[in-house]
């Protein structure tokens, strides 16, 4: 029983990390159909931002709080640059965006190696996040609770943005019917750019959160990018709630299977489950209803 619960927590925690990595993708992939393989490197950029901020400020607690918004802006600006320089001309070729952004990700990784060195760097966790916390006789690592909180906060903020702001309305309109949105006077161009900024910024935030968990090196992003895409695919396009459910379900499935088998088998089993699931629901958990054929 105790194991079951602690694995449930581990799964939710793993899911929250997946969710943070995938949330931005749900936005950029969902709205614009851009398959951004460089999203992983935006996560990496967020992690290195945390490293640089800590180097400047010193204090671990303060620098963590400063890193979160800074990394959001760094990730967002990278995304903006990518959109303006390359992706803008490629919206009618969504599959090609995958290859272009893969090229960008190779360059960014090598850049990180040349700037920060090949060795991994460390961001110290603040004292108030070290060690476990005890709830009802169970112990949970504080860092994992903190990441869970960040993930939930990101989802709440993003949902609020989509539901209540005019930007959100414009984004939803563009997702549902780009041509109609445009002819209704929405500048889809500006909407695209803003969406990409927000989506990429979320990758930066995910990067900061990941510094609490593991190593910060140039291949940080590659560890998450495929899983993040699978979350979006399972969740369904254009829906935040789909990504949320998918992330937590995959996280819990992974940790439960891993407990009774091994980490390798769990990874493969989860993938097999996804393929089977897509047989039943090829459009993912939630579908945006449109009248278009494809």
């Amino acid at each position: 029983m105790e194991i079951l619960l602690s694995q449930l927590f581990n799964g939710l925690s793993g899911g929250s990390i997946l969710l943070l990595a995938a949330l931005g993708l749900a936005l950029t992939f969902g709205q614009m159909g851009v398959i951004n393989m460089a999203h992983g490197e935006f996560i990496m950029a967020g992690a290195y931002t945390a490293f640089v901020v800590q180097g400047v400020l010193g204090d671990a607690g303060l620098s963590l709080l400063v890193s979160l918004p800074t990394a959001f802006v760094v990730g967002g600006l990278l995304g903006l640059a990518l959109e303006a320089l390359l992706l803008r001309r490629m919206y009618h070729r969504p599959l090609d965006t995958l290859l272009v952004t893969f090229g960008v990700s190779l360059v960014l990784q090598q850049l990180a190696r040349d700037v920060f060195g090949t060795a991994g760097v460390d961001v110290a966790a603040p004292g108030w996040l070290s060690g476990p916390v005890e709830v009802l006789g169970f112990t949970f690592p504080k860092t994992r609770l903190f990441i869970l909180v960040i993930a939930v906060a990101a989802v709440v903020l993003l949902s609020a943005l989509l539901a209540f702001t005019s930007l959100g309305r414009r984004i939803r309109a563009t997702v549902q019917n780009r041509a109609l949105a445009e002819s209704s006077g929405i500048s889809t161009r500006r909407t695209d750019r803003t969406t990409f900024f927000v989506g990429s910024g979320l990758a930066g935030v995910a990067g900061v959160a990941l510094t609490l968990m593991g190593s910060i090196s140039s291949n940080l992003g590659t560890a998450y990018i495929v899983d993040a895409f699978l979350v979006v695919v399972v969740g369904g396009i254009g829906q935040i709630k789909g990504a949320v459910i998918a992330a937590f379900v995959l996280g819990v499935a992974q940790s439960w299977i891993e407990y009774s088998t091994t980490a390798s088998i769990a990874k493969v089993a989860v993938l097999a489950l996804i393929v089977v699931f897509l047989q039943a629901r090829p459009q993912g958990i939630f579908v945006v209803r449109t009248r278009s054929l494809v």
């Binding site: 194991i3 602690s6 694995q7 991994g120 110290a124 070290s130 504080k142 994992r144 593991g214 980490a263």
Partner: protein
């Protein structure tokens, strides 16, 4: 095609003449080529760049002191790109296209196993500088890192001495941890130590919550860690955050050296034991000079570690062999190798002519708050290499 098939040698003919290329080494001029084959890109570049630097330092020092048999060394450097296939291809290039006298490098067991047939079929020489899982010896490879009886077995002796009655094994999912754990389990069985669990994580795995949960639930006296690379960072952060400490349940690691401590974060790993044959803190004139020279060449913030020291040593050992054989020819070197010694930073090491490993002293160290490792326990004298663990009764049947 029939013609071609007709003239090719069958395996049963004894493999044909071959075109063993090592003979193309050119020693007529004032210089001789040596090859350095390290991963300069990819995931292993983190570790292997430092080995390359150490090799370069050794080559510069040898050249500064007049070279080998009066010939200056010309280094041909190649990138193994962290991929076994590339290692095999580049090794072949160094031997057959560049005609180097010997190759130095490799890190992962995969890279070594990929290169081994290349060196054997061309009868060329590889100097491999990293501790490894043993159960191997080749007349074409000199192993200057530790084999199992110089690292893993002493580490187990140490844990036993400290009173560990049970162990938990955590490792990456590949040949070194699996072979190492096989040896550890045999040792444990013979010494009345209980192995409470054995977990493998895929290479590059970053979520250790489940594995750490299992470790915590098992509550062993110590953890034996054979994880590799970035996984160590995630593992130790998780370990600390789960409330586990070096005092309550020490984690003895065999793949974490001075170089890796910075990336993991000293705070996450301070006080944990590690097993090697060299630390930067060794107090000897040879080591002080090595550390000073290294910092002089690459920057004061750089640290030195066991694989770097073993790589540095390997070039001097090769020099010793060549000078003893008075020849750069591989068969002559193989004949002369036994007994060649060097006053290395780790202490005096001697080549074993039978298995091509070297006798080294085992040291268990503890990671200090300054990020360096200080010796806590030593085997006292160099341990003769025994890659197949033939002199250990409990290991009977492991190599078969």
């Amino acid at each position: 095609m029939g013609l071609l098939v007709g003239c090719g040698a069958r395996v049963s003919d004894g493999g044909g003449t071959g075109d063993a290329g090592a003979a193309c080494v050119d020693t007529s001029g004032t210089s001789v080529k040596v090859g350095f084959l390290n991963s300069r890109s990819g995931t292993m570049a983190i570790s292997e760049n430092t080995v390359f630097n150490a090799l370069k330092l050794a080559a510069d020092q040898i050249n500064g002191a007049g070279g080998v048999l009066g010939k200056q060394l010309t280094v041909v450097a190649e990138d193994g790109a962290s991929e076994p296939t590339v290692f095999a291809e580049k090794a072949e290039k160094l031997i057959r296209a560049d005609c180097v006298a010997a190759v130095f490098g490799g890190w992962t067991s995969s890279s070594r196993k990929a290169m081994l047939p290349v060196f054997e079929s061309n009868n060329a020489l590889l100097f491999y500088p990293v501790q490894y899982e043993g159960l191997e010896s080749s007349k074409n490879i000199f192993y200057t890192g530790a084999t199992t009886n110089q690292q893993i077995v002493p580490a187990l002796d140490y844990l036993k001495e400290k009173g560990a009655k049970s162990l938990f094994l955590v490792g990456s999912d590949y040949v070194f941890p699996q072979t190492a754990n096989k040896i550890i389990k045999a040792y444990a069985k013979a010494n009345g130590i209980e192995v409470k669990g054995e977990e493998y994580a895929p290479l590059g795995h970053t979520d250790f919550s489940t594995i750490v949960s299992k470790v915590k639930a098992a509550d062993a006296d110590a953890v034996f860690n054979t994880l590799n690379g970035d996984s160590n960072v995630a593992f130790f952060k998780e370990y600390k955050n789960a409330g586990l400490t070096a005092e309550a349940m020490p984690v003895l690691s065999v793949s974490i050296a001075e170089e890796e401590v910075g990336g993991i974060g000293v705070g996450n790993i301070v006080g944990q034991p590690v097993a090697w044959n060299y630390y930067q803190t060794i107090d000897s004139p040879q080591n002080k000079k090595f550390v000073a020279d290294f910092k002089n060449a690459y920057g004061a913030s750089k640290v030195t570690s066991d694989p770097m020291e073993a790589a540095y040593t390997s070039l001097f050992l090769w020099k010793g062999m060549v000078e003893k054989a008075k020849s750069f020819a591989v068969p002559e070197i193989q004949k002369a190798a036994g007994g060649v010694g060097f006053d290395a930073p780790e202490g005096t090491v001697t080549v074993n002519g039978d298995n091509h490993h070297i006798a080294k002293t085992a040291l268990i160290g503890k990671i200090a708050p300054d990020g360096l490792i200080y010796t806590d326990w030593t085997s006292g004298k160099p341990i003769e290499p025994d890659p197949y663990l033939k002199s250990y009764p409990w290991a009977a049947g492991l190599s078969g």
